[in-house]
Amino acid sequence: MVLSIAVGAKPIPLAQVWPALTDPTAAEYAVVHEMRLPRTLLGLLAGTALGVAGAAMQALTRNPLADPGLLGINAGAAAAIATAALLFGVGAGAGQIWFALAGAAAVTVGVYAVGGGRTATPARLALAGAALNAALYSYVSAVMLLDAAGLERLRFWTVGSLAGADEDTVRRVLPFVAVGLLAALAAARPLNALALGDDSARALGARPALIRAAVIVAITLLCGAATAACGPLVFVGLLVPHLVRVLTGPDLRWLLPYCALLAPVLLLGSDVLGRVLGRPGELQVGLVTAVLGGPLFLWLVTRTRTARP
C-alpha cells in the first residue's frame, strides 16, 4: 500500500510517504491526495471485490475455473458501459456504475436462464457463461471500432486500469462493494453445505435456491462495482482463491476473508509493477495481472488433481 502511494511518474521517497499523506504543506501532498491515494483505495476495493466474487463463484458453480470473466459478468458490465458511452456519451461518472450493475445483473440472469434456471448444473452454467462472454467481448470490440477516437479512454478501461481513479470513483463504488462483501461473507457457511451437492445440502437443512440467489446478488454487486471502477480485470478473481486455498483448504469461512485480504495485495502489487515497468508512462494493471496470471494459472492447472466424476 505504501509502495502504491510512493511509486509513480513522480517517485516519492518512502520516508516522505507519511508526511505527504498528513501534511498539507508537503510538496507531494497534492500528488498523493489527488492521484495516488484514491488509486490505492480503489485498488483495495476492486481487489477485494474481485477476489471474493471469484471465490464465491467457484463455490457456487462447483467449478474451480469459475471467474467473474468466465460467467460473462465482467463482460456484461463492460458491454453496458460501452453501449452507454456510444449512445449517450456517458463517460466516467455517476452513471457508469449503474450501467455496469445493470449489465452485470442482466448477464447473470441471462446465464442462469440459458444454463437451465432452477435445474442449472455447473457445467451448463459455465458453458452459457463462456458463450455469452465471447459474444459480449466481440460486441465491446465492435463498439470501440465504431468510434475509436471518442472511446480512447474506454480503450484503456477495457484493458483494466486503476489510472482513472479519483475520490469520487472510490466513494461511488464503496457502498456496492461493502454490501456485496457482507452478503458473500454471510453466505460462507451455507456455501460450505452446498459444496457437498444439492441433495446433501438440503439434507443438512440448507436451502440451495435461496443460497444461490443471495450469492448471485453478491457477485453481481461486487463484479459490477469493480468493473465500473477499473474495467474488466482478468485473473484476479480466478487466481487469488486458488492461492488462498493452498493456505486455508476448502472451508469458505476462512477462504472468503483471506481472499478479501490477499486479492488487493495482488492487485496493488501488479499496479505498482505496471508503473515501474512502464516508466515514464505505465502499463495498465489489467495487462500486468494477465501477464503474471497466465503462467501462474497454468502452473495451478497442472498441479491440481483432476476432479473425480
Binding site: 460450505n192 453445505a193 457437498l196 451437492g197 438440503r202
Partner: protein, 270 residues
C-alpha cells in the same frame, strides 16, 4: 407399531412422469427398514420423498405427524438425515472437516463451533472406524473408506432417523458387507431408525428388520423378511423364478435364482 416417518396417498412424479400413485408407507420406529424392488420401481423416488428432496404431487410425507414440507428445513435436518447416492466431496477437503460439516443444522450465526461439536465429530468417526484417517484427504481414500467417512458425516448430524440411498453401490463385496455391518451396528447400538434402498435382495433379507418390496410404484409386501420373502414374492416382484432357502450363517431367507434349465420349465425369463 409406532412410526415417526411415513406417507399416505402419495403421488410421486418428475415433471409429468408419474412414478407412483396412491402409495402408502410407514417406517417402524427403531427398525432397519430396507426398500427393495426392480429397477425403476420407484424405490429411490420414495426415499427422495421421505427425505423431502422430492415434493409429492399429492398426499403428504409425515414426520412426527406433521407435513414434512411445512416444517422448518433446519428442524427437519435435526431429526432426519440422508446419505445421497453420490454425494460430492469438495476438492482438497480433509476427512475431519467433511465429517464436521454434518453439524450444519446444529449451528448458526450465533452458535458457532463448540466443544460438543468436536466431541460428536470424534464419536462419529470412532463409530464408523475412520478415526485414524482424520488427517487424510477424502480424495485419497478407497471407495469403502470414503463411504464410511460419509456415514460418519451423516452420524454427526445426530438424527434419530437416517436415510441411505444405495449405500453399497460401487463397492466390492467385502466393502458392501463392511458398510452393512456398520449400519446394523448403528441400528442396534445407537437405536437409530435406518431406511436404506438396496439392490441386493439377499443383503436386504439378511440385514433388514423390516422389508418393503415395491413394484411399479406400489408396495407389494411389507414386513419382517423371514415372514414375507418367499419364492412367490420374488417371482411377483422381480419376475425371477427362484428358490428361497435358509441362510446357513444367519437363518434369514436366502434367494437362489433358478438354474437356466429349470427357469425354462417354470416358464419364466430365460
Amino acid at each position: 407399531m409406532t412410526s415417526r416417518l411415513g406417507g399416505s396417498g402419495l403421488r410421486l412424479a418428475y415433471e409429468r412422469r408419474v412414478v407412483a400413485d396412491d402409495l402408502t408407507v410407514a417406517v417402524p420406529d427403531r427398525s432397519f427398514t430396507v426398500i427393495i424392488g426392480p429397477n425403476a420401481c420407484g424405490k429411490s423416488t420414495l426415499l427422495r420423498a421421505l427425505s423431502r428432496l422430492l415434493k409429492p404431487a399429492a398426499g403428504a410425507v409425515l414426520l412426527d405427524g406433521e407435513d414434512i414440507h411445512r416444517r422448518p428445513a433446519r428442524a427437519v435436518a435435526r431429526t432426519l438425515g440422508l446419505l445421497p447416492q453420490s454425494p460430492t466431496a469438495p476438492d482438497g477437503i480433509g476427512v475431519a472437516e467433511l465429517v464436521s460439516r454434518g453439524r450444519y443444522p446444529h449451528q448458526g450465526l450465533l452458535r458457532q463451533w463448540s466443544r460438543d461439536d468436536e466431541r460428536i465429530v470424534a464419536e462419529s468417526m470412532a463409530a464408523t472406524g475412520v478415526a485414524d484417517l482424520t488427517d487424510r484427504l477424502v480424495d485419497e481414500l478407497s471407495g469403502g473408506q470414503r463411504q464410511r467417512v460419509w456415514l460418519a458425516m451423516a452420524l454427526a448430524q445426530q438424527t434419530p432417523l437416517l436415510l441411505l440411498d444405495e449405500p453399497t453401490t460401487y463397492l466390492d463385496i467385502a466393502h458392501q458387507i463392511e458398510v452393512l455391518d456398520l449400519c446394523a451396528r448403528l441400528h442396534e447400538e445407537q437405536g437409530r431408525t435406518l431406511v436404506a434402498v438396496l439392490h441386493d435382495l439377499n443383503h436386504a433379507a439378511r440385514y433388514a428388520t423390516h422389508l418393503i418390496a415395491m413394484r411399479g410404484g406400489q408396495v407389494v409386501a411389507a414386513g419382517e423378511p423371514g415372514r414375507i420373502v418367499t419364492a412367490e414374492l420374488v417371482e411377483e416382484v422381480f419376475g425371477l423364478p427362484c428358490r428361497v432357502i435358509d441362510d446357513p450363517e444367519t437363518g434369514t431367507p436366502l434367494v437362489v435364482p433358478a438354474a437356466r434349465t429349470r427357469a425354462r420349465q417354470h416358464g419364466g425369463r430365460a
